[in-house]
């Protein structure tokens, strides 16, 4: 029953985000074409994030926090192919409900590098809509620092995944300017991931032990029953006169990792980015 409720909530998340933009007008995406007839943009963005996690290696309680997110990327597209490389990093201070006499703070450093490679499938007869689908290669690294846990304080999480990605976009019209609205979703199918071993131990008593070595020696390969990260994004792109653009949107990430115990992480980002045409 609880699984069904979870599934329904996930579907609601995924469906609501594109509906948010359903009433926006259309037109063609602008930009200066390269010799090969690509439109290319460099993306620099910032976001505010609300995050929450439930990590059995840290606590049987849920932690929540706010923090900034910064992103840097490159987007290249033509009529057939859309590629996007985005590096994103965030830091947030998390707390939980508890006693004032005991520290319950966790600092979460989260970074991700996503490469999306999508093809236009021309599914819609109406030329204002586009459907792209393809793959995503994603690398994520998260470090949770809970100093109150002393020797168990540093908790790493790494995942390199290969998955599928789909994107629906629509030409739009903002203040008589041609713009673009898109919603995409990605889901990993296969991942190489790593979390600390039992009791979240770090072998400090061995002088030759290295944390980096631990991360890779503990890594496992699994499918979505062991690791998944749903990423759902909806963006409106507002074009400027010189081919540059401003992107505004909302991104929801939700991940779950299962090793000897479980870790859940959710993130809501409200994103503002500048796209430099080149």
């Amino acid at each position: 029953m609880f699984t069904l409720k979870k599934t329904l909530v996930t579907l609601v998340f995924l469906l609501i985000t594109p509906l948010c933009f359903a009433q926006i007008n259309d037109e063609e995406f602008p930009g200066i074409l390269t010799d090969n007839e690509y439109v290319r943009h460099i993306l620099i963005g910032a976001a505010g994030a609300y995050q929450s996690f439930y990590d059995e290696s840290i606590s049987p309680a849920r932690y929540e926090g706010f923090g900034p997110v910064f992103s840097l990327g490159h987007i290249k597209q033509d009529n057939y192919i859309y590629t996007e490389l985005i590096l994103q990093g965030s830091v947030a201070n998390h707390t939980r409900k508890g006693s004032d006499l005991l520290d319950s703070k966790v600092k979460v450093y989260n970074s991700g590098l996503d490469y999306r490679h999508l093809y236009n499938f021309n599914l819609f007869n109406n030329l204002k809509y586009y459907f792209h689908a393809g793959g995503i290669i994603s690398a994520n690294f998260m470090m949770k620092d809970a100093p109150q846990l002393e020797n168990s304080a540093k908790l790493y999480e790494y995942a390199l995944s290969l998955g599928i990605c789909a994107r629906v976009s629509r030409e739009t019209f903002f203040n008589k300017k041609k713009g673009f609205v898109m919603w995409d979703i990605s889901f990993p199918l296969l991942a190489n991931f790593s979390r600390p071993v039992y009791n979240n131990r770090v072998e400090y008593l061995d002088p030759e032990n290295s944390l980096i070595g631990d991360i890779f020696s503990n890594s496992k390969i699994g499918t979505f029953n062991r690791y998944y990260k749903i990423s759902s994004r909806v963006f409106a792109t507002y074009p400027l006169d010189n081919g540059n653009a401003i992107r505004f949107g909302y991104q929801w990430n939700y991940s779950r990792v299962q090793t000897f115990n479980r870790a859940f992480f959710a993130e809501h980002n409200v994103v503002l980015a500048f796209l430099f045409n080149h």
Binding site: K5, S59, S104, S152, Y198
Partner: protein, 339 residues
């Protein structure tokens, strides 16, 4: 503009839906917290095999004493009564309003009185970094109070050079009594300079560590050995007596156990206090912190040292010695090294 505000509102509202996707925080009821403590120890304490404690029967005994209507203080008192049956100084419970430690209530003498040392032994002593050092006639003396205080190679070089340049010095007393510490880096720095000479062809086994790797009581990794390999560092004087007492605890306990494997070193004084310096901390659903040892450790001769390592020569400082301002352990070491 209205659309943007609408979107922002939807995004904010969606954040509250997150709670349906993740597991709920565990209940903080008294019984649940008691069970959580018992289970955490049951699945994560690495020394059940050594201590022969019947943890299941302890659960049966204490479960009947816990009720949802009891106060937080009553729950804490019941839990520390249960934890005290492990007789382990590395097990503690921090409830914010109080923190429990196991204290050895036996009659083991402390074998250390700093005020006597300061009054009668440490006149003219010098400090280099964390090391206090002086020379008693031809015997060098070093006191290291806490391995958590960083010792650099340069500081160590100053001390070893001082003793090395004085040709009358051929022996050393190294005092690590009342050294409660958790860091290992300085141990290895010291151990590299504790050999017979700069070219000794000898790898010293210091200790072995086995970590918990599963919830069963005997789920432990294979013991991992830690060695000091031969090196060309300048060495302390060859004749070496290490002083320990029950306050030699944590990584200082590992140091004492490891040093006993050097052929030129004798350990004198009292049994060490135990511990490995590696505790793990578990946060409970009500925010309390439960501390427990993270590993099983054994000395170079295969004995478990989590509960202390015996010296080669046990010496006791009696109340009469203290009344007379005498540190019998240092005196005995000086007499031996002056022979």
């Amino acid at each position: 503009m209205k659309k943007i505000i609408y979107i922002a509102l939807v995004a904010v509202l969606l954040t509250s839906c997150e709670k349906l996707l993740m597991p709920k925080s565990q209940s903080t009821g008294r019984v649940e917290v008691f069970e959580e403590i018992w289970k955490t120890i049951d699945e994560s304490y690495p020394l059940f095999v050594q201590t022969n404690v019947n943890w299941d029967s302890i659960h049966a005994e204490f479960r009947n004493k816990v009720f949802d209507t009891m106060t937080e203080r009553q729950l804490y008192d019941t839990c520390i009564d249960m934890l005290s049956l492990l007789y382990d100084a590395e097990v503690s419970l921090d409830a914010g309003f109080a923190k429990y430690y196991h204290i050895d209530s036996g009659n083991t003498p402390n074998n250390f009185n700093k005020s006597i040392l300061e009054r009668n032994y440490w006149q003219g002593i010098e400090r280099t970094g964390p090391l206090l050092h002086k020379v008693f006639d031809s015997v060098a003396y070093v006191y290291y109070e806490n391995f958590d205080e960083t010792l650099t190679d340069a500081q160590l070089e100053v001390v070893t050079e001082k003793f090395g340049l004085d040709t009358t010095i051929n022996s050393i007393i190294f005092d690590v009594r009342n050294n409660k510490s958790t860091k290992v880096e300085n141990i290895f720095r010291l151990c590299k300079q504790m050999g017979i000479d700069s070219f000794f062809k000898y790898n010293a086994l210091l200790y072995k560590v086995a970590y918990k790797n599963g919830p069963k009581h005997d789920d432990l990794t294979k013991p991992q050995a830690t060695f000091i390999e031969q090196n060309d560092k300048r060495k302390f004087p060859r004749r070496f007596i290490l002083l320990t007492n029950k306050g030699t605890y944590g990584t200082a306990n590992l140091f004492a156990a490891g040093a006993s494997n050097y052929p030129n070193i004798r350990v004198w004084g009292g049994k060490t206090g135990g511990g490995s310096g590696y505790t793990i901390v578990k946060e409970l659903s009500n925010g309390w912190k439960l501390y427990l040892p993270g590993c099983y450790t054994e000395g170079p001769f295969g004995m478990c040292i989590n509960f202390g390592a015996e010296p080669d020569s046990a010496i006791i400082i009696t109340p009469a010695d203290e009344a007379n301002g005498v540190d019998r352990i240092i005196d005995a070491a000086l007499n031996e090294l002056r022979k």
